[in-house]
Amino acid sequence: MISTLGGFVLFLALGVTLYAAAAAVLGARAGREDWLASSRNAVLAHFCLVTLAIFLLEYALITSDFSLRYVANTSTRGSLTRYKIAGLWGSLEGSILLWEWLQALFAALVVARYSDRGPSGCRHLLPYVQAVLQGISAFFLLLMTFGANPFAPLFPVPPDGRGLNPLLEVTDMLIHPLLLYLGYVGFSVPFAFAMAALVTGRVSEEWLTITRRWTVVAWLFLTGGIFYGGWWSYRTLGWGGYWAWDPVENASFMPWLTGTAFIHSVMIQERKRMLRVWNLVLITLTFSLVIFGTFLTRSGILGSVHAFADGPVGVMFLAFLSLVLFFSFGLVAYRSDALKGHGELDSIVSRESAFLLNNLVLVGICFTVFLGTIFPLLAEAIRGTKISVGTPYFNRVSVPLGLALLLLMGIGPLIAWGRASLNNLRRNFLKPSLAALAGGAILVALGVRQAEILAAFVFCLFVIGTIVFEFLVGTRTRAKTMGEGLLTAFATLLLKSRRRYGGLIVHLGVVVAIVGIAVSSVYKVEREQTLKPGESMQVGPYSVRFDGMAAGERPTHILVWANLMAFKDGKPLHTLTPGQRYYPNQQSPFASVDARYHWNEDLYVILSAFERDGSSATFKVLINPMISWIWIGGGVILLGVIVAVLPERRLALLAMRAKAQVA
């Protein structure tokens, strides 16, 4: 029943979305305002239909209606309601429905936002923007109708479902995937505007200005999703790390890299009208990489080249990807005359060059990640041998590039546009460089010898130096010239050029995260030892005493844990209870790690094995120095983006209120 209804709703949505696209294009061609209005209504109707489909599937999930194969695959009767709800994105078919729903939501938001207001050029672009967004929706709906139907029936109806992978039954499951999808879908908006600009021939800076905020917000969601994923992995997956260069992670990292390059290079175009083609290429790449990443991780191709042919999903993704690439690059070629920029540069030593290099390095890292991710497939297809390309490879190749990027992060925001005079260079960079070199010298004196970590520290110091000086000088100048207090001056400074200072705060967050990444990976300490009850093991300044095993029943699993007492420098610090969870439907247990999290050092304990009679147990104990800085850096990035994108009016209102309170 629900299967038929759901399938019908999706089919209807497909019809409506195709109509909306066609009406928008034809209406714009014929200049028929009524067709355009009808298309806009269809966009909203499409959103309502997909929402209905979501409700149907959620209803089936919550009521454990196992006559749907998807429900049987992703939930059990015993699951908590919130994980039944999260089952919607627990597997392929539901994820695509959720993606399509967000896609429909964004299309509706774009229509609502720009149909009667917005910049003047918007009216010309909007029909084609709608058409592109509906085209993307149509792809997902086709995918669900013919390849990955979330409403596919199951017969005979099983008494209970298989349930989510227990690793996914955590609160993070409610947040991380949503953030990523919002990021992915968010990038489709600037992409759609770019395509509309190409179709209409309005290829000036208009589409960039309109979509700037959309892009930054999409970037924020994607960044947030990646950081959150790392945090989740660190706390729950039980191997003590946050990033494994897994293809699924790489799939989110690649569009992040090109998206970051895009956010930077649009600044050159806005200011100097250069790089028009390049920016179109970057946004197209970003969107294509989102699709490619999903193809890679969802088609099963990574397990083996041969798994690819098993289902229609992979083929459909690949077909859509080729379509996107064919049309977007075709349009760029078609408009190549209009796109000819008049590039002018006073000097090679300038912010433009710094941005070009930034783009080069970001795209270079993206290429490396791409190559490393698909290389095992190439090797299998060409040589017939299975090989692995993993963490050591990616670290080896991307660390030098990352260092270059770090250095550019210090130079880019402060070097002058056009031509950087010697005076400009000295004024902005002399002191931060001195501070950085002094810091480097101190570290060498303290015994830090590894070249990479030294370079990372010195560059981080340099970047922070430039940012701090910039804020200090700005605040002080403002306080002096306007006669304001330092705090007011600082606040007004932030509000007056939010984009610039928000961006600098984002950079600060990135540096804080990089320090966390560098220190935690180089100075990580790890020991593994088997202990009898009462025995202790020594790890760095910590000692961990094993006080015996315990076990207990939990709602969904049986938990076996070890009681540990951690001491630091001989003083009792914390009790820790790492354990293993046994689920009825799973063959092997899942680690349940425990840790003492601290702002500059985590003590992280994994129970790796134990004797059934409790006579001994093996523990892996990790000291992860400064790993919290990664998450703190993520928070600072969030703050910076909020400063950069919050609407002017709202901030002015806040400032007025604050002033009123002070007065």
Binding site: F367, K386, L446, L461, G465, T477, R527, S588
Partner: protein, 182 residues
């Protein structure tokens, strides 16, 4: 007031004189604060454990081997039983005085090239190691060409603003020179 504001808007970094006095001292304080924050993280690395050299060596080698039953984790990181056995095996081999290469070769003979997380740099695999650097070099060359073309366009563009105007200036200059020159 107006001019001050204009100067302010034009270049936030262009603040007048007084900050030149503070430079090096401030830089040093800043560096010290930073180092102070970093030290607590770097310090524990130096402290010891029963057999630090052996354990670090084991970890280093194990982090280059793939846990063959896991999705994408190294033998060093994986919590699985097999990985634990493989770690013990690595530890045993290190104790026997085997080198990193010998241990790798041993695991390759058992599980195939698949077990190495970093593909050995020979034959077909050279592509995956070389291409990124080749791409970056080519890209850097491209960036340089683009930047140079832009600066050249600028230099050409400046004198050729308006040929008619330039011609008039030239003629007027000639006319002026004629009486004084002759």
């Amino acid at each position: 007031m107006g001019s001050q504001q204009a100067a302010w808007a034009g270049s936030p970094a262009g603040a007048p004189g007084r900050r030149h006095g503070r430079g090096p001292g401030f830089a040093l304080v800043w560096a010290l604060v930073w180092i102070g924050l970093v030290i607590p993280g770097v310090a524990p690395a130096a402290s010891g454990s029963p057999n630090p050299d052996l354990e670090d060596q084991v970890r280093e080698i194990a982090s280059g081997l793939r846990c063959v039953v896991c999705q994408n984790l190294s033998v060093a990181d994986s919590p699985s039983d097999l990985a634990k056995e493989m770690r013990n095996l690595v530890r045993e081999l290190v104790r026997q005085g085997k080198s990193r290469e010998e241990i790798q070769a041993y695991f390759v003979s058992r599980y195939g090239e698949f077990v190495l997380l970093s593909p050995p740099k020979r034959g077909f695999n050279l592509l995956v190691w070389g291409l990124p650097f080749l791409a970056i070099l080519l890209g850097a060359w491209g960036v340089y060409l683009v930047a140079r073309r832009w600066t050249e366009q600028r230099e050409e563009a400046e004198p050729a603003v308006d040929p008619a105007y330039a011609e008039r200036v030239r003629r007027e200059l000639q006319e002026r020179e004629r009486p004084s020159g002759s």
